[in-house]
Subunit: 367 residues, 2 copies
């Protein structure tokens, strides 16, 4: 099998870019905000408002969400300084993603971001120094004991690589109802290795008493083929297999392709954090987001249209997987067809059942 790279989102501002298809990730950030705020407040109180505050966002990607997260964090720090009449710390922000991430786009929006910051919060706040750190978060990113707060949203469900020894998972691209137990085992073990390594690397970088705040896509029940985590990929596999039947895609290519991500259940997460031992798990919360996040009760103007929702979901999955599919030599030409099929399958499915993503939110303290 060709090497599958850990996903890097679609660059630029095209119709299929991540920047234009990141409503899911935005919804997650907004829904998780209260827990993030609580994490920052608690940390500022226990560390007595440090003079220099270093925060890292891992898997920052490139789009409106990149600076949204940073804005939220700065808002909370600012509010806390005002409330407790404390001098604002100097804030150093590290935006991390893979070297292939479109950092240029993020950087170009920084002057306007800084101007807005000054206008909204005044000269007494900050300064805020933003830098980009281009490296996989499955490697060391920062000097020892240098970071106060690590944030990562919608990222750590991506594995460092496709699990080895997947054995017979033909016609599937993730754990599916039809997968043998060995497939689940291989995926779980890869996640255990990766997430444990992630915790261990971060524990070296974060100060004692520092916090780590994560959101990622999990599943609601221990059954690894739970619909809320697998069916999205089963429908993509189905779209692939149609193209195989029509002779557009080689069967062997689909057989050997698997998605390098894992959607853990709560127990699996608790178990890894406990075994790794560097962090206290202060809070683990779970919430749901519709596959099409614009289909939300709070969105009063929303009128359900299965095709539009199907397209939204397909664009979201495409933004996150296209560079990976291209790296596996599926070829630019089949991508449009594949995701048109996929949008249609998702539409038919959503018309019957509004499946939801299970989002896991975790707040931890470095021991």
């Amino acid at each position: 099998m060709d090497e599958v790279r850990v996903p890097c989102m679609n660059a630029g501002y095209e119709a299929t870019s991540y920047a234009n298809n990141s409503l899911l990730q935005k919804t997650v950030i907004l829904k998780a905000r209260p827990v993030l705020e609580e994490t920052i407040k608690d940390m500022l109180m226990t560390t007595c408002f440090p003079a220099s505050f270093k925060v890292a966002d891992l898997g920052c990607s490139s789009g409106p969400n990149t600076l949204l997260v940073i804005s939220e964090i700065l808002d909370t720090i600012h509010a806390m300084c005002q409330q407790f009449n404390q001098k604002s710390p100097e804030i150093q922000v590290f935006l991390n993603d893979l070297p292939e991430n479109d950092f240029n786009n993020v950087f170009k929006s920084l002057p306007a971001f800084n101007q807005r910051l000054k206008k909204d919060k005044g000269d007494q706040f900050g300064p805020c120094f933003v830098s980009g750190v281009p490296c996989s978060f499955y490697e060391r990113l920062f000097p020892s004991r240098s970071i106060h707060l690590i944030h990562s949203s919608s990222s750590v469900h991506w594995l460092s690589k496709v699990p080895e020894n997947l054995g017979s998972n033909k016609k599937n691209i993730y754990i599916a109802k039809s997968s043998p137990p060995s497939v689940y085992k291989a995926y779980l073990e890869q996640f255990q290795r990766d997430f444990s390594s992630f915790l261990s690397l971060r524990s070296e970088e974060i100060i004692v008493g520092g916090r780590m705040f994560l959101t990622f896509v999990g599943r609601s029940i221990p059954d690894p083929s739970s619909k809320d985590c697998c069916y999205l990929w089963e429908l993509l596999a189905k779209s692939f297999l149609e193209l195989v039947d029509e002779g557009v895609v080689e069967a062997a290519k689909v057989d050997s392709f698997d998605i390098p991500c894992y959607h853990p259940c709560e127990e699996e997460v608790r178990d890894i954090v406990e075994k790794e031992g560097s962090f206290n798990l202060n809070k683990l919360e779970i919430f749901e987001v519709n596959w099409d996040p614009s289909d939300d009760p709070s969105n009063k103007e929303f009128v359900f249209n299965k095709y539009r929702s199907g397209k939204n979901v397909a664009n979201c999955v495409r933004a996150a997987t296209e560079p990976m599919l291209l790296a596996c030599h599926f070829g630019k030409s089949i991508i449009d067809t594949l995701f048109n099929r996929y949008a249609n399958h998702v539409a038919q499915h959503l018309a019957v059942e509004k499946t939801k993503f299970i989002e896991i939110v975790v707040s931890m303290t470095k021991i």
Copy 2:
């Protein structure tokens, strides 16, 4: 006049990109190496090999020189650790340039850079964490007292903006033989403000005992219209004026265009450092580099060809000024013609006289 941005080098890897036309800057880096090595060695001895070493390269640009500087610095640290049997520090490298700089290109070359580092220096060296800092160096870039070594090569001769009150400098784009004294005064005062502000900003960021190492293009004598610094721009002005005569470029546009850079003499530099007062000037050296740096006595294979040398110089100036010329609405279409003319004028000049750049090297300690 349209706003002139501080220059950002031509992006990408095209024939006219900075990455492909940066031999001058490379030559300067290599010639200045002994002083940089001495600076780092001296600093490591006086700070007793800190556990975490933070170094910043300001105006890093995007091309082969970006990582060349970092390699030199890492080589020296590695050699010193070996010589004195010291544990390698964790090294954090901040690459700074304007937000428009092509950081993506630099970042994509980092995985190979890190692999080479590991292969050459072994697992005991580093780790080395590289990040990008997209911001003008005429603003604060880093938290207070956080940086050990600041390096900046071929950058601080660029001003924060075109001097105001240039008055009557029509038909010129920099200080020229025909400029009135007020033009020199306006340029000098802008440089005094900018360089003084640069020193003051850096003095807040650098630790006491930390070092700053700079190279920039100056001039050899106090006369501000000294040929070694002005004639390069006079020939560009001449090329512009030909296009004006031919009706291709509006006269008013050239009249209102001026280059935001300044080439100080040694006395001016010493004076500003002394007045600003944050740094001890340990060393100031001057060396010369041919306008066409491939025309070098050490380059045994070099055979002088005025047209090739003219083209080399024109490409070098184009890589550094094209984004600025476009920002001033000169229009993509005239750029090729302009620099063809310029290459020819430079060729004719070099056939008569091999003018040289005067490079000033400065090594300072934060008091």
